[in-house]
């Protein structure tokens, strides 16, 4: 009896929490912003998913936490949870009718209430909303009761619909470059999202495939070293060809995004050395980016008129400056660990930004007006063939070359003696020092290498934009880079690419997200640390660690930090 009572309470609590999450999301404005971002055209939109998603997720937790696992009881639990969520949503709509919430919450608008009520009159519309909440919760409960094979198939099918539906605009844009291929796929998409028929076909295909594959052995791993080598070089060559033609395949608009993603990959690779390999949390990483960019600016811009060098003359100087400032910052903070280090580096980043902004250094650095007319890089041999890299597509190749060099260096560093000392220091500083590792030199090189890579990013940024302003070098940039390496997996080089594509690429592609980008980053950081601290593409060593033990304790799963309080 006692047991049942707590189960009711649990269901009610989950439901209320779900409702509160929906209300908060609505008040932030996400729901209304995405109400016209359709997943399936005219059927379901992202905004609607944002209302139903939390409701479903929380009834799922209610079901999971229920002690009584009888089907009927689980259905009831879900229904209660859904009802509670629906009632909270209704409460907001009701409150909004009585008092003007808009004076405080910008997004508590009549539009929002209309969305809640499915654009119907308030009373029947809101009752419909309540009913839908209960129904989706019941469906969630029903879903958990299905056999595992059907569950996987359904889940996969739905996942593909959501992903492809959200990417609809991109896919149609890409297809439009391709002529006849576009005609083949036209029926699947309607106005930037999936058409209903397309969604059904996609669902049947993916769900069917998942159903068929369930329980069947996976593709065999190639164990023969010779074949492995062939496969590896084959994929690399294929990737290379794709990367070379990517700007042509995707068009101008995508090239701009690719450039941005590329710059962040460059800097991510650098920060990955500092944070991922050496375990030093650096929040002032943007400072080196700024130093690289400003060195190029000061040395090449005719506007300031000190030097008037070409890009390539200034390039090594900029790298040297970034490297030296990495060393200089590294010196005083050698003795600090963990959170203190984070704050000091953050302070350093801010000092650089304040100095750049100040009137004091304005004659040299341009103050708030920044530096304009930075020389673009010119490639080729004087007199034979030269080309000034100005368009986004040209710069793509420059950035790509930079990434290849930097990634190569990063991989070699990781596998070198130095890389191993970094990781030893990360795992346990005291033991590492006791083993004879010179922690001064090791930390300094980590900082300086990270700074160098960031400096490269800065120079390419200056070359890409052609003019730099202090506002480009905010603390937020450091957070961007940190988020991407954490989401990708700290210490993992492929993780940097995954993270950059997910955190920089996606928000640029899905234009509607741009506004809520940092909200999304913040939530992603917290969620990653709570659920998957090793990242999306974990470092091989971590994966091995997890593989060895049958049931890894949560501590072992957690990412590598040196500090033990």
């Amino acid at each position: 009896m006692q047991n049942k009572y707590t189960d009711w309470k649990q269901a009610l609590r989950s439901g209320l929490l779900g409702g509160v999450i929906v209300v908060v999301l609505s008040l932030i404005g996400i729901v209304a912003a995405f109400i016209n971002t359709y997943v399936i055209h005219d059927v379901i939109s992202l905004g609607e998913l944002l209302i139903l998603g939390p409701v479903m997720a929380l009834s799922l937790t209610a079901i999971r936490k229920a002690t009584n696992k009888q089907p009927g009881f689980l259905l009831l639990t879900a229904a209660i949870s859904g009802l509670a969520s629906g009632l909270v949503i209704l409460a907001l709509a009701g409150l909004g009718q009585v008092i003007n919430l808009r004076a405080m919450f910008l997004n508590a608008s009549p539009d929002l209430y209309a969305i809640y009520a499915y654009q119907q009159a308030p009373i029947p519309g809101l009752l419909l909303r309540l009913l839908v909440c209960v129904i989706v919760s019941l469906l969630t409960a029903g879903f958990t009761l299905l056999p595992a094979r059907i569950k996987t198939a359904l889940g996969q099918g739905l996942l593909y619909i959501v992903v492809i539906g959200l990417m609809g605009r991109l896919i149609t844009m890409m297809l439009s470059n391709w002529g006849f291929v576009a005609i083949l796929f036209q029926w699947m998409f309607a106005a930037n999202s999936l058409s209903l028929i397309g969604a059904i076909v996609l669902f049947l295909l993916t769900a069917g495939l998942a159903y068929w594959r369930y329980g069947r052995p996976k593709v065999k791993r190639i164990t023969d070293p010779k074949k492995q080598k062939v496969v590896r070089w084959g994929t690399l060559a294929g990737l290379g060809v794709i990367l070379i033609f990517l700007p042509n395949i995707l068009g101008l608009w995508f090239s701009e995004i690719l450039d941005n993603v590329g710059l962040f990959i460059l800097m991510g690779l650098g920060l990955n050395i500092v944070v991922g390999f050496a375990g030093l949390l650096d929040l002032g990483y943007v400072a080196f980016y700024a130093i690289g960019a400003y060195t190029i600016g000061v040395l090449t811009s005719p506007e300031l008129g000190f030097f008037n060098w070409t890009f390539w003359q200034a390039f090594p100087v900029a790298l040297l400056m970034a490297f030296i400032s990495g060393l200089l910052l590294g010196l005083p903070i050698l003795k600090m660990r963990g959170d203190y280090l984070a704050i000091v580096t953050l302070g350093f980043g801010e000092i650089i930004r304040i100095l750049v902004l100040s009137d004091w250094l304005k004659p040299w650095l341009g103050g708030t007006q920044g530096i304009q007319r930075i020389q673009r890089p010119v490639i080729g041999i004087e007199g034979v063939w030269t080309r000034t890299l100005t368009s986004q597509q040209d710069l793509y190749y420059l950035i790509l070359a930079g990434i290849i060099v930097v990634a190569f260096v990063a991989i070699r560093l990781r596998d070198s003696r130095l890389g191993r000392t970094w990781m030893a220091l990360r795992e346990d500083e005291d033991v590492a020092v006791a083993m004879g590792i010179n922690h001064v030199a090791t930390k300094l090189t980590a900082f300086a290498m990270g700074a160098l890579f960031s400096g490269i990013g800065g120079t390419l940024f200056a070359a890409k934009i052609g003019s730099i302003y202090p506002s480009s070098f905010q603390f937020l940039v450091s957070i961007n880079i940190l988020s991407l390496i954490i989401v990708g997996g700290m210490g993992s080089i492929p993780g940097v690419f995954v993270g950059a594509l997910a955190l920089i690429g996606l928000p640029e592609l899905l234009r509607e997200f741009a506004e809520y980008r940092y909200l999304f980053y913040g939530a992603a950081l917290v969620a990653m640390m709570l659920t998957k601290p090793e990242g999306l593409w974990p470092e091989a060593r971590h994966r091995l660690e997890l593989h060895e033990e049958a049931t890894p304790p949560p501590e072992a799963e957690a990412e590598p930090a040196t500090e033990n309080a």
Binding site: G29, L106, L281, I351, M529, E559, A561, E563
Partner: protein, 353 residues
Amino acid sequence: MFRTWRQKITLTDILVWVIGLSIAAVVIWGTISTLQSGKYSAESWFDLVVKGLALGGVYALIAMGYTLVYGILRMINFAHSEVFMSGPFTAVFLANALNNSGFLNRYPLLGILAVAVLSMAVSMSVAVLVERVAYRPLRNAPRLVPLITAIGASFFLQYTFRGFYGSGFEAYPTIEALNGAWQLGTVRLFKTQVVVILAAIVMMFMLYAIVMWSKLGKAMRAVSEDKEAAALMGIDVDGIIVFTFALGGAAAGAGGVLYILQFPVVHFYMGFIPGLKAFTSAVLGGIGNVPGAFLGAMVLGLLESVGPNLFLDGLGIPVASQLKDAIAFIILVFILIFRPSGILGERLTQTKV
């Protein structure tokens, strides 16, 4: 003997000392040349000092959150600057409503009190919420993990409040009773600054009393000494941690009200710089130490308001006040290098830092 001396002092130590001494030399030289030029009168120095103390009062209250949480969990609550922001950013709507109805100018004390209570309540709830969602599940994780969730939570909160109330600036109404200044001989005292300093002192004293003399405070100190032992003595450790966050949040909310009395404009990004400075003052005074946070905040407030004029003006740097934030951060870096335990801090072992 010679060998040990050589082993103890490394090249990096020497370099750090050289950098430190050269900055000290520049500061001293700047101070002397400013004082010699006689550009500022004694009255303007007095103004700057009072302004600095008022600023320090705000920092002191925010710093309490950092210090209390650090004392118990040995972690920096990075999201505390957003805890500070949430209070005044929410209370601005109450203040404007009270002002429009004329209540605020009829009963200024009651009005400010109502605004303060709301601000404290909101900050307190946000602090408790952050603890529940972002820190509690990670209590035994490596130290880097809660730090990263803290950064994440900080951004999430900033942009949540931006979504709630918009990205623009909201202005607090002016309170007539606090306008103007008292003239004492040749010097004048701005009413707001006096009120802020007094309120900060009273509140800091109350916080000190709670921590030192109440039963809950005793439990807090016990938990900060040794969590396991405290739990064995029958102290609800999780409850005490929540109480600590709540206390720190309430102090930040109160600090927020004192902040808007001086700078009556709020926006979603307003927490970042004051939060960082409050952290600096907590470190300056010795993190984990309540009187230390107060002392550190007052020193930082003074340095920040007097510093640009005193140190930098003499060096011929134009608009030196632009660099006041840089001064605060440089101070932070140097305390952490030369005396990480702060002014009043216990001697922390290096591993603890």
